[in-house]
């Protein structure tokens, strides 16, 4: 069971990493227009102003 000493910190780290990533997506307002972002990828226009 010594492997737990490594595995548990790893799993916790991955979890915290994911949470941090999520906080980053929220800070950069990536949930403001989910439908628009889904459609914009189909446009061949170059979208260089992704912020609102």
């Amino acid at each position: 069971m010594n492997i737990l000493v490594i595995l548990i910190p790893i799993s916790l780290f991955l979890g915290i990493f994911g949470l941090g990533f999520f906080v980053w997506t929220m800070r950069t307002r990536q949930y403001d227009d989910p439908k628009g972002d889904a459609e914009r990828i189909l446009s061949d226009r170059w979208d260089d102003h992704p912020a609102p």
Partner: protein
């Protein structure tokens, strides 16, 4: 091209992209000054975004235009040289409808902040739940002794802060409910979360077998999910409906000792003199002292025929002055105007409607006492059976609370409402009120207003083929100099037929009468029947008079709103009783009723009459859907079981109605009724599903066989089934 284009272009490293960047950079220097936001009910795809954005950015002075497809609006940054009207015209030129949004209302980002706050809590709960689940799987699959205790401890270390942070919305609302002396859905939720967490802490320190940390966090996550869905749907609809800018400007031009000054309507007193320009809305009740004009009363009374006014005529707030300037002595302003009295009627009617209890409330009222009763009796019974084993008895009662906890119940309504509102939003309908969908589903009678609702309120000339080309060319020459709606409609229709204007000279507009000019020496007139020398009929028309010839009549009919016929046919197919109630003259109402197939129509009904008509239908047991736009409909809109008004309606009407129709096409209303009935069926199904799970799981918990594994299974299974069932509604493209 600006420097930023090159920088990001290098990062993308695609020659084609660099070759065809959007025309964004230009005007950037002058931009940033002002921002305008427009609602775009019609956008729905990538091509729409591109069309609107490139059309707008091509206009000089506009720095940036960004379409938000989720909220269906466009944010335009410009240098301040564009009025919202210009921008709307620019968007309309690309073929999309656009409506102005109120900047002041938009700048209040309170709801946005709340929604981000909820989302943050939801995210934290999700990650905590996933980590605890990993640890719990190990415990469920048989970890024992020190390993289990360690896993419980780590779970607790993750769960406790999570619950404290993420559970706040429930704790706060439960506390508020307690202070107000009622047990909502949030009290059992909070109790279950707190009890589950604290008992798990106790068990962990006494190396017990069962810790419910996973259940507590899962509960928080699922319920926050429901809360977030609920909040997002409501916020989107509410903001869009409220932020549609006021059509009427609350300012007036006061005449003080010969000098004109612009003042707020609220500053006017009885006895003041007010100047009302042609095309403006009358801000007060009063008596005309000077000037002649025609008034469009359609928003107030539903009458499409303009009314001539001169000195000593009485005018009411809300009507539109059409042709000439008027000076009006104020008899009532502010709270005493007929407009404000109408608002009082609305307040009374709305109070009656607020008594509606939603399905969720009814379920909660039944559910909360039952759950507490069960949990406490389980505690008592097990205390008695075990002879005072408090730890065991509390374990059982906590398990009961967790298992019965309304995960599915908390998700059942929001998930369905979100799916249904999304569906309606795609159809161009904004649901403002939380219970509107449920009320809409009960509707069996539909009452329509005529002007502005089934019609567009814009006249269209009839049978232009009957007239000779020379008559039309004279009429066009005269009509094109006037801003009167009939004249404009006539001029537009004549131009559309390729008619060129005759060489009419000395054109002048006679306020309240029409336009006069000279055609090769003869006097020609276009205007009111009496003025031209004809006998007025009872349909909307304007007359062309050339000296020495009998006058020619140009008849007009209100143009039908697109989809009106299909809507009435659709409603009849659904078995609804359809009524038409209008303030307009009988001939006009009868004509329209015959055209779209409504057998039951009433004409010349006053605003009080409309609301009485609706109230009478309701008293006889009918559930009435009122569709109207004018001030005269406002009281009826509020009195009806549920109401819809088009986005072009007056503020008061939009405020009074539950659902706002964003597009011009009215046909989606029939689909909305279908969707709402389906939604209510799904809500009931969802209640059934979660009740079913409880019927199986609760006895297990009561006899003390509940394990954290069973709790986790019951909770996630019921939540997922309920959500999937709700999502069946949103599926399918229209």
């Amino acid at each position: 091209m600006s420097a930023t284009d090159f920088e990001s272009g290098g990062a993308v490293a695609c020659p084609a992209c660099i070759a065809t960047p959007a025309a964004r950079g230009k005007g950037q220097a002058g931009a940033g000054g002002e921002e305008t936001i427009l609602a775009l009910p019609g956008v729905h795809c990538a091509a729409c975004i591109t069309t609107v954005e490139s059309a707008l950015t091509a206009i000089p002075g506009i720095g940036d235009a960004r379409v938000n497809l989720t909220l269906r609006r466009v944010r335009i940054r410009h240098d301040g040289s564009h009025s919202p009207e210009d921008l709307i015209a620019a968007v309309k030129a690309t073929g999309y409808e656009a409506l102005p949004l109120d900047m002041v209302a938009l700048s209040s980002t309170e709801t946005e902040r709340q929604s981000r706050d909820l989302l943050m809590r939801l995210g934290v709960a999700f990650f905590a739940m996933m980590n605890i689940m990993l640890l719990s799987v190990a415990v469920w699959s048989g970890a024992t002794g020190a390993t289990r205790d360690l896993f419980h401890m780590i779970s607790g270390a993750i769960a406790l802060p999570t619950v404290l942070f993420c559970g706040q919305p429930f704790f706060r609302s439960a506390l508020a409910g307690l202070r107000a002396g009622r047990l909502g859905m949030d009290f059992p939720i909070s109790l279950a979360i707190v009890l589950a967490s604290s008992i798990s802490v106790y068990e962990t320190f006494h190396s017990g077998h069962h810790a419910y940390f996973d259940a507590a966090v899962m509960l928080t996550f699922f319920l926050l999910g429901g809360r977030y869905l609920d909040h997002r749907t409501r916020a989107a609809a509410r903001s869009a409906a409220q932020e549609l800018a006021a059509l009427e400007v609350p300012r007036a031009i006061r005449l003080t000792e010969g000098a004109e000054e612009t003042v707020a309507v609220s500053d006017l007193r009885a006895g003041d003199l007010v100047v009302i320009r042609a095309g403006a809305r009358v801000p007060v009740d009063g008596v005309v002292t000077a000037g002649e004009s025609e008034l469009d009363q359609s928003l107030l009374t539903g009458e499409t025929l303009p009314v001539a006014v001169g000195p000593d005529s009485v005018v009411n707030a809300g009507v539109v002055n059409l042709t000439g300037g008027l000076t009006v002595r104020v008899t009532a302003a502010g709270r005493d105007t007929s407009l404000a009295r109408m608002a009082d009627l609305v307040a009374v009617a709305e109070e009656a409607r607020n008594r509606y209890t939603s399905l969720a409330d009814r379920a909660a009222r039944l559910y909360s006492p039952l759950v507490h009763l069960m949990s406490f009796s389980a505690f008592g019974v097990w205390m008695w059976i075990t002879g005072g084993d408090v730890r065991f008895a509390i374990n059982i009662s906590a398990a009961v609370l967790i298992i019965t906890c309304p995960c599915a119940l908390g998700l059942a309504v929001p998930a369905v409402v979100t799916a249904a509102s999304g569906r309606l939003f795609r159809l161009g309908l904004l649901v403002k009120s939380g219970t509107a969908l449920e009320r809409l589903a009960e509707v069996d009678t539909v009452v329509f207003d005529k002007t502005g609702t089934l019609t567009l309120g814009t006249p269209q000339p009839l049978d232009l083929d009957r007239h000779g080309a020379d008559d039309l060319s004279v009429a066009l020459a005269l009509a094109s100099v006037s801003s009167h709606p009939l004249a404009q409609a006539l001029a537009g229709a004549a131009r559309a037929r390729g008619i060129t204007a005759a060489a009419v000279t000395d054109l002048r507009e006679v306020p309240g009468h029409g336009i006069e000019g000279r055609l090769s020496g003869a006097r020609v007139r276009l205007g009111r029947a009496e003025w031209v020398g004809a006998v007025p009929g009872d349909i909307t028309s304007t007359w062309l008079g050339v000296t020495g010839r009998p006058p020619v009549e140009f008849a007009f009919a209100d143009s039908l709103r697109p989809g009106a016929e299909a809507l009435v046919a659709g409603l009849k197919a659904q078995g609804m009783a359809v009524h038409l109630v209008s303030g307009d003259v009988p001939a006009a109402v009868a004509d329209l009723a015959a055209r779209i197939g409504i057998a039951d129509w009433h004409a010349q009904i006053l605003p009080e009459g409309k609301s009485a008509f609706v109230a009478d239908l309701s008293a006889r047991g009918a559930r009435v859907l009122m569709v109207g736009d004018g001030l005269n409909d406002t009281a009826a809109l509020a009195a009806a079981h549920v109401s819809i008004s088009p986005a072009t309606a007056l503020d008061a009407a939009r405020v009074a109605s539950d659902i706002v129709l964003m597009g011009q096409d009215i046909a989606p209303v029939a689909e909305a009724l279908r969707v709402s009935r389906k939604a209510v069926r799904r809500i009931r199904e969802n209640f059934g599903i979660s009740f079913g799970y409880n019927v199986i799981a609760v006895p297990v918990a009561l006899i003390g066989l509940a394990t954290p594994l069973l709790a986790a299974l019951a909770m996630s299974l019921s939540s997922i089934t309920v959500t999937l069932n709700a999502m069946r509604l949103g599926g399918g493209r229209e």
